[in-house]
Symmetry: C2
């Protein structure tokens, strides 16, 4: 009812500021100044600062999750209930990587906000992230169907490593660029996706073709 103009102006301004400067040093006063609204408007429309952040993060992450599941479902349907592991992994890490990497100037505010959220985790966001497990379980299920011979433990480790590579690459993209003196092209998103998927696939299928995985031959 009425005009959500103020409401959405706050959301937009907050997302922009958080994306640019991080959660740590953006105050409500910064946000309302950027949005050209009154200070009390945030509490009026969202209840509290934390709820504003939560709403921002929830709406963005359900969008990503929906995209992931869409790709996963399409792949499994095409394969009659069983999708190739590469395609599953691509559905898992592709949407996030595509959203968060790529040429900076064409990177959306939403993407930059999500990068921030992954770098400096703040209480309201942490609470939400904890509920993401159910979502990941769906991928674990698909992976199990795709690789029925693998143990659950290996599946979970593969899932963990796939997410690790994707998220770390996003978080530390700047450092990787600097470290490699630009040789690693983080703007070529599809190449990054292919690399992550490829390594994760190896992690999940190693020891199947050749001898048993060398996972246990160390130490002790």
């Amino acid at each position: 009812m009425a005009s959500d103009h103020t409401r959405s102006a706050i959301l937009a301004a907050a997302e922009r500021l958080y994306a640019d400067r991080g959660f740590g040093d953006v105050t409500l006063r910064d946000i309302v100044a950027e949005a050209n609204v009154n200070l009390a408007a945030v509490n009026y429309h969202f209840g509290s600062k934390d709820e504003l952040i939560a709403e921002l993060f929830v709406s963005r992450s359900i969008a990503t999750n929906r995209e992931r599941l869409r790709e996963l479902k399409a792949a499994e349907e095409e394969g009659g209930g069983r999708a190739p592991i590469e395609v599953i992994l691509r559905a898992l890490v592709g949407p996030t990587l595509r959203g968060c990497l790529g040429p900076e100037n064409q990177r959306s505010t939403a993407a930059r906000f999500m990068i921030r959220a992954s770098i400096e985790s703040v209480p309201p966001i942490r609470r939400i992230k904890n509920r993401e497990i159910d979502h990941l379980r769906k991928f674990a299920g698909a992976m199990r169907r795709s690789l029925p011979d693998r143990s659950d433990v290996d599946i979970y480790w593969g899932l963990n490593f796939a997410l690790a590579m994707a998220h770390h690459t996003i978080r530390e993209s700047e450092r990787l660029t600097k470290l490699s003196e630009g040789k690693c092209d983080l703007d070529d998103v599809e190449d990054v996706v292919a690399r992550v998927v490829s390594v994760a696939t190896m992690a999940l299928t190693a020891g199947k073709v050749e001898a048993k995985a060398p996972a246990r031959l160390a130490a002790r």
Copy 2:
């Protein structure tokens, strides 16, 4: 000079509190209460809160880096200037994983502090992390010597993925345990190290020499 008692009491208390409750909600007053010293002592001994955090983080991370380089140097000397890639990777991720994983009750305060530092990155720590590139370059060099046929790009990606798996596993160890319903045993640190090293090795050697005997094992 004189008694550093106060100084080290502050350091110990701060590390403990940050490890337990995070940087976000530990104030100077909490720290001095835990250390049983006066509020002004922090500014007297360290200059500011940020400098206290920085000192804590620097001393811990140079300890880790020293351990890493020690293992790396030993490996390269044993191999006459060229170490097997598995051993290099083990030197890279082993110290961190060993420090940050393992049974919680025997996990050191230092380790738990470093986990915090990797989860919620705070300005003074971020500044220091940026200077870590030189350290990583040494590992990139060793990896290049070990795998002279690989391109620089592949080396850097392999390095990036190895760090990704190690750090993400530390950061999200709780979530992985929950997701896998305890099936992934994060307390078996050497197994985790072996898994990370194994996958990173595959990432770095895939498509090159198929008959790669994982010959030498790591010493420790």
